[in-house]
């Protein structure tokens, strides 16, 4: 029996049109819908007598594309399941735009219309597997601005759409390719496990896992824990404030196996070795002492975030100042202000950072680059971890992790428009 993923949520009257559509697509939780694949043919029918129907149809398709649903088939308003089936679609997204109590409401239903060869009545109405709705005020909503024309330079292209949820609190994320030339895998470090995920037709699919529950604990864990992930060829280095040391793990089938202990939390790696940092016991801060490759120590200011590549390093101080330096932490320069999550696209000059303060509980992911113009995307919740990678062919995706209490973490995604070519792996 198919599981009914029911996501009918309370309406938010003040949500704007763009936000309402983004929330509707996020609330459908397509990656979690039983049997749904991102590469299946999805017919989209947007109906209603609202003046916004055409705009909504365009926005819906844009948000689906954001998630990786590339095979969408727009059908005329009012088209039936039979018409969608006739057009060769396997799924139908029925979207209604209507006026309810002075507000415009967008509601969506995902219907499985391909019942298969063995269904007794293949033309019977398909099961509705996901429902979502949102309202927006037509008085306060201006038509969304047209997308900026392609500039040929990379830029962050939002909005961020909910991709999935991970149990527990995500402390760090990374993008690490299992082998040179292969797409990146998403590495997720939580308080209880490290997992690698592959982007596939269903969204995120677990590839390998390491259980952290048996590892030695930090004598004074942080109330607000954090972690770090660094790729090391086909291995992965990680550490968290819950553990008393860092670890290097290698992929062994569906398992991640520890093959080396690290004396700190890895925040960078170059040909000579690891850049290791220590968390201050019980605090959500890195201590001032760093260990560079070949055991060289360096003193910097206590910091909220740190990231080192072969030739550059970034540090977010406790005053939320973003400082850039050489890969050996020399020649520090104040770049601007940033929050506590950093990411770097391997083989490119693209660095991402979050905002130094939250506004209405929301965060902003911004791109910093010496070669490209700045751009940013708003995330409706505080971002605890951030990564950027080439998870899918021809795309560069950004993933953000936002805690929902201690229960789970919401993973959102958006892409980089006009991403830089290839990679330097």
């Amino acid at each position: 029996m198919l599981t009914l993923a029911f996501a009918l949520l309370a309406a938010t009257p003040s949500a704007d049109l763009d936000g309402a559509v983004t929330r509707v697509v996020s609330d459908l939780r397509l990656a979690d819908v039983s049997g749904f694949s991102l590469d299946e043919d999805l017919a989209v029918v947007v109906s209603g007598d609202s003046a916004w129907t055409t705009t909504v149809a365009g926005l819906i398709r844009g948000r689906l594309l954001q998630l990786g649903v590339e095979h969408t088939l727009p059908l005329p308003p009012g088209s039936t399941e039979a018409a969608a089936r006739q057009a060769g679609a396997e799924w139908l997204l029925r979207v209604q735009v209507e006026v309810v109590d002075e507000l415009e409401m967008v509601s969506a239903q995902l219907v499985r219309i391909d019942r298969g060869l063995w269904a007794a009545d293949p033309h019977s109405p398909g099961p509705i597997l996901a429902i979502a709705d949102r309202t927006f005020s037509r008085r306060t909503t201006a038509p969304p601005p047209p997308p900026p024309p392609p500039t040929g330079t990379p830029s962050l292209a939002g909005p961020a759409v909910v991709l999935s949820a991970v149990p527990g609190r995500v402390l760090a994320m990374g993008a690490c390719a299992p082998k040179a030339g292969e797409p990146d895998e998403l590495v997720v470090v939580t308080q209880s496990f490290v997992r690698t995920y592959r982007f596939d037709k269903r969204g995120l699919d677990v590839v390998a896992e390491l259980d952290l529950s048996k590892l030695p604990r930090a004598p004074a864990p942080a109330r607000e824990p954090f972690g770090a992930v660094v790729c090391d060829g086909d291995a992965i280095g990680f550490g968290t404030t819950d553990l008393d040391r860092g670890y290097r793990v290698v992929r062994k089938g569906a398992r991640l196996e520890i093959d080396a202990d690290l004396t700190g939390m890895p925040v960078g790696r170059n040909a000579d070795g690891w850049v290791l940092a220590q968390a201050i016991a019980g605090r959500n801060l890195f201590a001032s002492t760093l260990t560079l490759p070949r055991g060289r120590g360096v003193e910097i200011t206590p910091s909220y975030a740190m990231l080192a590549t072969a030739d550059r390093a970034f540090v977010v101080t406790t005053a939320y100042t973003l400082v850039s330096s050489t890969g050996k932490f020399d020649d520090p320069q104040r770049v601007g202000r940033a929050g506590s999550a950093l990411a770097h696209l391997v083989g490119s000059p693209i660095f991402l950072h979050t905002a130094p303060e939250l506004t209405d509980g929301g965060d902003v992911v911004s791109m910093y680059s010496t070669e490209y113009p700045a751009s940013s995307v708003r995330i409706p919740s505080a971002v605890q971890a951030l990564t950027i990678g080439r998870f899918r062919e021809g795309r560069v995706d950004v993933l953000t992790a936002s805690w929902r209490g201690r229960r789970d973490t919401e993973i959102r995604t958006f892409s980089v428009a006009d991403p830089p070519e290839g990679n330097a792996r």
């Binding site: 004074a220 109330r223 607000e224 404030t241 016991a281 019980g282 959500n284 909220y304 303060e357």
Partner: protein, 472 residues
């Protein structure tokens, strides 16, 4: 309908503009009006005590925002086999002195609670051994409770602040716990200092300390709630200026309101008839309007949702003179007692007001040594739609009067088996009013105020404030 107060402003404050990382440092200063602070879990007398104890001690279970049981020191849900409830203990939990908490320590704590003069209502649900001690045993990392009668929701009693686990400290009089803060010091004025427990498994709290001090000045209350150095004030006297934001609870399960009652002592002759006379004589609407403020509602029932037939005023059979005991520093204030005195005088009952210290009042209530008593009942049990929480609230009230046995095994059995638990609770509530000689007057929300310099404070469904995530 008046809003039930208790907590949202703090929650709202915490989601406004803020830095991505929570800052460490700073202190919280907690003031408790009108009564000394009780730090032993089994003796918690209200929301303030439960808050203070929650800094240091943890329970086997807690309740989440939906009122569902969640393990804290337990490793999982309880296993119920007939009359035996087994609770697996979370492994490797560290005590404040570095030792590891064992099932034997937990069992010993429950036995110790039962043998003191405690308000822990779960005690009467347990069978006793030959020495009169409750049967709580430890075995293979589990704590086993032997019940007198099957009670499927027994573990909800273990979520009460009274069921927090404390362990005798080596070489110290004060017990220790496993919570986010540890005892630092107590001075002669009754001011407690609590320090963060660095090795707390949930992570060191953000604050560098919590200071809890009693205060007795009614006139100081308004100043305290405006003072930026103040962070939480419990028990603001009725009628005080409440300029500070009130704390409200987000979530479906709210703390239970306090019930203001007039209790008639067992020594008073013809107690039932007198209760009827008093019930009819009290002008509750006027008492509420003039003395208790916007947050209070007149009531004739101990529990919200229980219907009580309005009684016609009855003339007393003979005029009489009685002593009315009130707390010298009670939240309801001096004028309230005088207004009650006037209402009773009009019904032919002459009352002389006797003001005593909160400690003395507590002792006389528990010893049933009074004729009339104005009292506040504050069961630390959530006000949920579940009848079992009403049953446990009654149990908690009975324990306040040192009579937990008023909830008999037969009552629990009827509750479990009748199929109409709400009716059983309503009948029990009526019998409680008679047995304890209680005349409910008004219901009001627990009075807690905060200055806006403290963020991340949440209210537990029991009404206790959780300061483990609090920060400046």
């Amino acid at each position: 309908m008046k809003r039930l107060l208790v907590s949202l402003s703090l929650c709202v404050a915490s989601v406004a503009t803020a830095a991505p990382r929570t800052p460490y440092g700073g202190d919280a200063r907690v003031y408790v009006f009108g009564r000394p602070i009780e730090v032993l879990p089994e003796n918690a007398a209200g929301f303030a005590d439960a808050t203070v104890q929650g800094l240091v001690y943890e329970r086997l279970y807690g309740l989440d925002g939906s009122g569902d049981l969640v393990p804290i020191l337990a490793a999982g849900p309880p296993e119920i086999a007939g009359l035996v409830v087994s609770v697996p203990l979370r492994p490797r939990v560290q005590l404040h002195d570095g030792r590891v908490l064992t099932a034997a320590m937990v069992a010993e704590a429950f036995v110790r609670h039962a043998t003191t003069d405690a308000r822990a209502s779960y005690v009467t649900a347990l069978t006793l051994d030959g020495a009169g001690r409750p049967r709580v045993r430890s075995e293979a990392g589990q704590v086993r409770f032997q019940l007198t009668t099957p009670h499927a929701d027994f573990a909800r009693l273990l979520a009460s602040p009274h069921a927090a686990v404390d362990v005798p400290a080596v070489g110290r009089a004060q017990t220790i716990g496993t919570g986010p803060y540890r005892f630092h010091s107590r001075d002669a004025r009754g001011v407690y200092l609590f320090a963060p427990f660095d090795a707390y498994r949930g992570g060191r709290p953000f604050l560098d300390g919590v200071e809890v001090r009693p205060y007795a000045s009614r006139f100081g209350a308004a100043a305290l709630t405006k003072n930026a150095a103040t962070t939480l004030v419990f028990g603001i006297p009725d009628g005080s200026d409440r300029a500070s934001p009130r704390i409200e609870v987000a979530g479906s399960v709210r703390p239970r309101a306090e019930t203001l009652v007039l209790a008639i002592g067992p020594s008073v002759a013809d107690r039932d008839a007198l209760a009827q006379v008093i019930d009819g004589a009290l002008n509750r609407q006027r008492l509420v309007r003039r003395f208790l403020g916007d947050d209070a509602q007149a009531t004739q029932a101990l529990l919200d949702g229980v219907k009580v037939e309005a009684t016609e005023p009855k003339a007393p059979t003979a005029s009489r003179s009685l002593a009315l005991l009130v707390s010298r520093d009670g939240r309801a204030g001096h004028r309230f007692a005088e207004r009650v005195q006037l209402d009773l005088l009009r019904a032919g009952i002459t009352v002389r007001i006797e003001r005593v210290s909160p400690e003395r009042l507590e002792a006389r209530r528990r010893g049933q040594d009074f004729e009339l008593l104005i009292d506040t009942l504050a069961p630390v049990v959530p006000a949920s739609p579940r009848p079992v929480d009403d049953l446990h609230a009654l149990w908690s009230i009975a324990s306040m009067f040192a009579q937990p046995q008023l909830v008999r095994a037969a009552d629990v059995e009827r509750f479990e088996r009748s199929g109409r638990p709400a009716e059983v609770v309503a009948a029990l509530e009526a019998s409680f009013r008679r047995s304890l000689g209680l005349v409910p007057i008004a219901r009001r929300a627990p009075s807690v105020a905060s200055t806006d310099t403290l963020h991340g404070v949440t209210s537990r469904p029991s009404g206790a404030m959780d300061l483990s995530d609090a920060h400046r």
